[in-house]
Amino acid sequence: MFKRSLLPVLTVLGVIIVLWYAACIPMNSAWTIQQLERSGETMTLSEHVADTWAQERPRLPAPHQVAAELWDTTVMKNITSKKSLIYHGWITLSATLLGFGIGTTLGVLLAVGIVHSRTMDMSVMPWAIVSQTIPIIAIAPMIIVVLYSVGVQGILPKSIISAYLSFFPVVVGMVKGLRSPDAMQLDLLRTYSASNTQRFWLLRLPASVPYLFASLKIGVAASLVGAIVGELPTGAVRGLGARLLAGSYYGQTIQIWSALFAAAILAAALVALIGVIERVTLRRMGERP
């Protein structure tokens, strides 16, 4: 399956890069023309094009510029340096992971409660479903600032936002998964006089694993977004969100793009990691994908 997709994917990516280079020309030309008007010089077409691909603050950085910046701020810098993207990436990642861990754990616990208590099910589940339609991220600035004013800084406020964002998808997905066994399966356990606990561990929990992993993928991406947005309100100086903000204030477009790519790579890596864990787990549970 991978082999079949490899050539088409590479082709599509190749076309995207070509289009990207092409787009740089009209987008950055205005600046080039402005410079030429000022200095009174002229440029040939190829010099003009080359210029649009090598500006310091381009409207659209060329792929190699972004790649160079990424290389420069990751491999070429000391990891503990304030300019290292790995350092910033780690700041954001640690908040993401902490929040994701908290949100997932609480989410699973609440899901178990919902499945076993009618009262909790009817009181809380509708709110969990409705909350998926609410842009929870609107709460982020408030949480950061409020916690800041009571002295809670650093990783914890961002983690709380991350936790909140991964919480509800995990609850909804886990409840769906715990309830996925069909009537026939449940009846079988009743004929064995299985207790609720036995039914949970032997049937409901294993059945919920695919649903859990689907929610974890959504949850980890949401947690990352939460951590990034959490770095915006207080004008933080550390983290990928902070780099995005700083780049946007000072017009450092290449910095913005490299921070964005770093965030994208981080998101992809996290989702892929969960995917790998998912495949390994499901294979050990006997599923043949």
């Binding site: 409207r59 009817m122 809380v124 709460i139 600035p141 017009g251």
Partner: protein
């Protein structure tokens, strides 16, 4: 202290009432189904009010619901203007543009297998990325006003809708496609009579996901730069002024906007996919 004690009593009371209702004989009725979460929500609000007053929680940490309600009522013109800026101009226009573009591309992608095999993995990848990070870039290109917010929304909703539509267009069985071949039907006939109607449940799944993404995108984009208007703008400036009651008021507007938008799409879905088993149970 008495407030706090009152809050605890209220919690116990609310829980007991809900437990009675949830386990009682009428538990399956619609009325009880609505009453229980409502009682739960009201109990939370009352406890919130009591604890904030009872423990004298500073207003810059957590204002009580009563104060938020007053601020809400007094700020309706501002809230409405923010709503129009962020939701109508930003989120809604981005949603429509992104949705139409994704649908058209999905049809093209469906037609050409090579394109599908190349674009779909890339699309799935893009759908998982923190697209809100594109906000500063789009603000730089489109300016501070609603156009950049709409652009962020377009990017955010594009991939989920694309991926879901392509999946839906492929969801017809071999038998259905063979039947079309026995009629000598053309590609366009098969597309519009079989595949698009069959894809509707998937398309609406993508649209529902997109409603939340649209609002999130518009609000977060405003955190990166905005004229003196908009829900995200109001939230970040009010937070800066520690006017938390206004922040909560805007959050209520956002919550209402989000749920009504989602509800509207779900309603249309009911009409269009009335035939799907999930709508008939």
């Amino acid at each position: 202290m008495i407030y706090v004690a009152g809050a605890l009593v209220l919690w116990a009371l609310g829980w007991m009432v809900n437990a009675r209702l949830a386990n009682g004989p009428n538990a399956q009725t619609r009325a009880v189904g609505i009453a229980v979460p409502v009682i739960f929500g009201v109990t939370i609000l009352l406890i919130w009010e009591l604890i904030v007053r009872g423990l004298s929680v500073p207003l810059v940490i957590l204002p009580p619901p009563s104060m938020i309600a007053t601020t809400f009522a007094n700020s309706l013109p501002i809230l409405w203007a923010d709503f129009v800026q962020t939701f109508v101009k930003g989120a809604l226009s981005g949603f429509v543009i992104g949705g139409v573009a994704a649908f058209l591309l999905a049809i093209v992608v469906d037609r050409y297998d090579f394109l599908r095999r190349g674009l779909l993995p890339v699309g799935n990848f893009m759908a998982a990325l923190p697209i809100v990070g594109t906000a500063p870039i789009l603000v730089m290109w489109f300016g501070f006003d609603w156009q950049s917010k709409a652009a962020v929304v377009v990017v955010m909703v594009f991939f989920p809708i694309l991926v879901n539509t392509v999946a839906g267009l492929r969801d017809t069985s071999d038998m259905q496609r063979d039947l079309m071949r026995t009629y000598g039907a053309s590609y366009t006939q098969t597309l519009f009579k079989l595949r698009v109607p069959a894809a509707m449940p998937f398309i609406f799944n993508g649209l529902k996901i997109a409603t939340t993404l649209a609002l999130v995108g518009a609000i977060v984009a405003e955190f990166f730069g905005s004229p003196t208007l908009g829900m995200g703008f109001r939230i970040s400036t009010s937070v800066g002024q520690l006017a938390l009651d206004m922040v909560w008021a805007e959050i209520i507007v956002a919550a209402l906007a989000g749920s009504i938008f989602y509800g509207a799409i779900a309603l249309i879905e009911k009409g269009v996919t009335f035939w799907h088993p999930s709508q008939r149970t």
